[in-house]
């Protein structure tokens, strides 16, 4: 395009210098690292006040406990980036969690090979979860139903579906090869922690490096503009809800594997709130168009640490709820202040 190179560059083009005064710089710092600061102060508090906190076990314990939330919250981050929300994650966890044992326990159809049974138990539930996500995306893109309502359908019905699979009964089992995903170790690291790390890295990479990541943000930021720029907005959204479904499915299977049992009524209850809170505390606006993947991870860590801190220090559940609320507000407020300087 030779024309461009000959085009005159006007006097006012090009970057302008950026200066921040001390106060603004502090605010910006607080915003960027506010959640980190909250996290650090929580750590410090624990080191000083919580008995037996400084231990290797504490670390692995918290990592294993936070793993499922983080996995689900990664999907939630993407969904929120497209301007949506996914209330159905808990129910999808229940569906995947209910299906898996049914498969290797031969409750659906007898599967001749044991290995095949376990292999199917590890994959079919994810397909079901993907289907749930696809259904959400379908309602949202085909009928233009608002995400909060569209996913409310599965939020209500999904758990019931899971319960009808299991006839409302608890499925207990002992199947080490399947339970590896919840109880196994690789080089001394719990498998679920490895799963979490992989999911986080993949999501981070997706958002930061891939064209799809950019498209997600564009769709969330201005769907009309995205479409006119040649992005298949509906397709992107459907894909994201499928991803969210699959991640919820993984989390559901991990939970079931840890517990030697699947309880369709309980697996993943309130997970949607935990995941959304992690996203918000992590600094992603719920209005879409942005995704702070590592922020979400940090947000989940903060909430996990709050939980163990309160538990270990004997704060009753009721009071813990109030403290948790205050911390969420504080963290999000720190972020939003820095946005506005």
């Amino acid at each position: 395009m030779s024309a461009l190179d000959t085009a005159p560059s006007s006097t006012n083009g090009g970057p302008v210098e950026r200066r921040l005064n001390a106060r603004q710089a502090t605010l910006r710092f607080l915003g960027r690292y506010g959640t980190l600061l909250v996290f650090a102060s929580l750590l410090l508090f624990n080191v000083v006040f919580t008995p037996n906190f400084v231990a290797w076990n504490t670390l692995t314990l918290n990592l294993t406990q936070v793993a499922t939330v983080v996995i689900v919250a990664m999907g939630m981050t993407l969904v929120i980036a497209t301007g949506g929300i996914d209330l159905s994650v808990g129910s999808v966890m229940a569906i995947a969690g209910a299906l898996a044992p049914l498969i290797f326990l031969d409750r659906i159809v007898p599967i001749p090979s044991h290995t095949l049974g376990v292999a199917l138990a590890l994959t079919l539930p994810l397909l079901a979860a993907a289907l749930c996500g696809w259904f959400n995306g379908f309602l949202i893109t085909r009928y233009r139903i608002q995400p909060i309502v569209a996913t409310l359908v599965l939020f209500i019905a999904g758990r019931g579906i899971a319960q009808t699979f299991t006839n409302s009964e608890l499925q207990t089992f002992n199947e080490p090869s399947f339970q590896f995903i919840g109880k196994g170790f690789v080089w001394g690291v719990p498998v679920q922690v490895i799963l979490m790390a992989l999911v986080v890295l993949a999501t981070h990479y997706l958002v930061r490096r891939t064209a799809l990541g950019r498209q997600i943000l564009a769709v969330g930021g201005n769907e009309k503009a995205a479409r006119l720029s040649g992005i298949d907005a509906a397709g992107v959204k459907r894909l994201i809800y499928v991803i969210s479904g699959v991640l919820a499915g993984i989390a559901g299977m991990v939970v079931v594997a840890i517990n030697n049992a699947s309880d369709a009524a309980r697996v993943g209850t309130l997970m949607e709130l935990d995941a959304i809170a992690a996203v918000a505390v992590g600094g992603t606006l719920l209005s879409g168009g942005r995704a702070n993947v590592l922020g979400t991870v940090l947000g989940a860590f903060v909430l996990q640490l709050v939980r163990t801190t309160l538990l270990a220090n004997g704060v009753p559940d009721a009071a813990a709820l109030v403290v948790k609320a205050a911390l969420i507000i504080a963290a999000v407020w720190l972020q939003s202040r820095a946005e506005r300087i």
Partner: protein, 506 residues
């Protein structure tokens, strides 16, 4: 002085946008405010009305020191404002939009009948006959702008501010607006008028304040400053002349036809449009507001479904169902409404610019950052986009600079055909000349351009031929040598005497 703003400073995220800027408006005066895109005009206005808070400086209005913390305060004090990017409340009715925040009441209840009647009366002053009970979103950008102006001038204010009110209006509507401004003046109401169209300033303004890079450069009576001087002090340099090139030469019927559209139909807005764009030419598309130009462009681009007609690209029949199909054939569309259909506000200048080229920047699903960066740097420089860095969110850019980024979004795809819908809307004279020149040069390099514009001057200067739409139908194709303002006007008004949207909608 009615208004006097002194030594105003303002910076966003450490970038200083206003530096000791000042502005004065006398009672009953029409003051023009001009400056390049990003000079700080809108920011100055927003600081006055309390939409932004100033960092330092003083504001006197009507003899008292003021510092409004929200637009409501300025409104109460007698300052009515028509903002540049304001779209009012789209789901509310026309009448409600005009009277929001000062609804007529009866016993404390909303007096709907009076509101309706007064709204119709006010609009009649603007030669608009609308169904005032219909939501604002049902109407075109021009009508919405007129409603916003009507809202502003009926507030019984001492000062009416209009930030680029004419950018989406046609000549007739501009005339109506000017009459209104003169009436206001006769009533002793002052007006602050922002526009990039110099002829408008000379038509209606008494004095002009010139801003450059956040500073006030000068203040002159309109009659004492020539266009050339005005432009020079505004740009800080001479205007790059946009050569009205000799239009004959290579451009003839021997060029291969790139786009051929025949008898397009869609809904009630497009009812038989045919047009042709040859390779390497700029085809103009003229028409009054609501003539169906935007809709035609969207049809061709695959953004809206087509009810009938044929579109052929390079002789091949096409049936685009989504914009992406058109993009694959090397077609781009710079849409008319930058805020709603153009920018992705949260994304950076870089990300906005490369949105349409993503498929080409993708290597195994991953964006090639080095190439991306190179492209972005090149276009920022080539188009003179004023931003603190390519990483600045586009929402922080001034309107004109946003428009440049959007143009760059398509130019970097190296398109065969670029459809530009009001490409210079809200763009300063300097940049405007540059953009037109750029389009011309690109056309010379083989790009086909379909240019929709409400500015006849612009069409005449740039287009190789102009298709005129009237009421959803193509009524004439004028070759370069047939182009004249009168001729265009005559064709545009063709079987369209009504002009009021309400009449047609009813």
């Amino acid at each position: 002085m009615l208004l006097s703003m002194k030594d105003i400073n303002k910076s966003f995220s450490g970038v200083s946008v206003l530096r000791d800027a000042s502005l004065e408006v006398a009672p009953g005066e029409v003051m023009a405010l001009i400056g390049q895109n990003g000079a700080g005009k809108s920011t100055m206005i927003k600081i006055l009305t309390g939409a932004y808070r100033k960092d330092s400086g003083s504001i006197q209005f009507d003899g008292t020191q003021v510092d409004f913390s929200a637009p409501a305060g300025a409104q109460a004090a007698g300052i009515a404002t028509v903002y540049q990017e304001l779209n009012l409340a789209p789901h509310r009715t026309v009448a409600e939009n005009i009277f929001l925040s000062r609804e007529p009441r009866r016993w404390g209840l909303l007096d709907r009948r009076r509101m309706r009647a007064e709204a119709s009366r006010v609009l009649a002053r603007f030669k608009l006959e609308l169904d005032v009970d219909r939501p604002l979103e049902d109407f075109s950008a021009a009508t919405r702008q007129m409603v916003a102006i009507a809202r502003g001038v009926t507030q019984n204010a001492r000062l009416v501010i209009m930030d680029e009110p004419t950018s989406s209006l046609d000549e007739r509507e501009v005339g109506v607006l000017f009459d209104t401004i003169r009436t206001l003046k006769a009533d002793g109401v002052s007006t602050l008028f922002v526009s990039h169209r110099l002829s408008e300033l000379y038509a209606v303004c008494d004095r002009v304040t010139i801003m450059r890079d956040g500073r006030t450069i000068g203040q002159h009576p309109m009659s004492e400053i020539s266009r050339v001087e005005l432009v020079r002090s505004m740009l800080g340099r001479e205007l790059t002349a946009f050569a009205t090139r000799a239009k004959d030469e290579a451009r003839g019927s021997d060029l291969p036809v790139f786009l051929h559209a025949e008898d397009l139909h869609a809904g009630t807005r497009v009812r038989g449009v045919s047009l042709q764009v040859r390779r390497g030419e700029i085809a103009g598309l003229a028409g009054l507001l609501g003539a169906g130009r935007t809709e035609t462009a969207r049809l061709i681009f695959g953004a809206d479904p087509r009810d009938g007609g044929r579109v052929a690209v390079e002789g091949r029949e096409t049936s685009y169902r989504e914009p992406v199909d058109a993009i694959r054939d090397g077609i781009g569309l710079v849409s008319e409404d930058r805020k709603v259909e153009g920018i992705v506000p949260e994304l950076s200048v870089r990300e906005n610019m490369t949105l349409a080229i993503l498929p080409k920047l993708r290597v195994g699903g991953v964006v090639d950052r080095t190439r991306e960066r190179a492209i972005v740097d090149r276009f920022i420089k080539a188009l003179g986009v004023k931003c603190s860095s390519p990483e600045q969110p586009i929402r922080e850019l001034s309107g004109g600079n946003q428009q440049k980024v959007l143009l760059a979004r398509w130019l970097c795809t190296d398109p065969n055909l670029l459809i530009v819908d009001e490409p210079t809307r809200g763009i300063d004279v300097g940049a405007k000349a540059e953009i037109l020149k750029l389009l011309r040069e690109l056309a010379d390099d083989g790009l086909s351009v379909l240019m929709i514009s409400s500015e006849l001057e612009e069409l005449m200067a740039a287009a190789d031929h102009v298709t005129v739409l009237s009421d959803g139908q193509s009524v004439a194709v004028l070759a370069a040598d047939e182009l004249s303002e009168e001729r265009l006007m005559t064709e545009m008004a063709h079987q369209n005497e009504i002009g009021s949207e309400g009449a047609r909608a009813a």
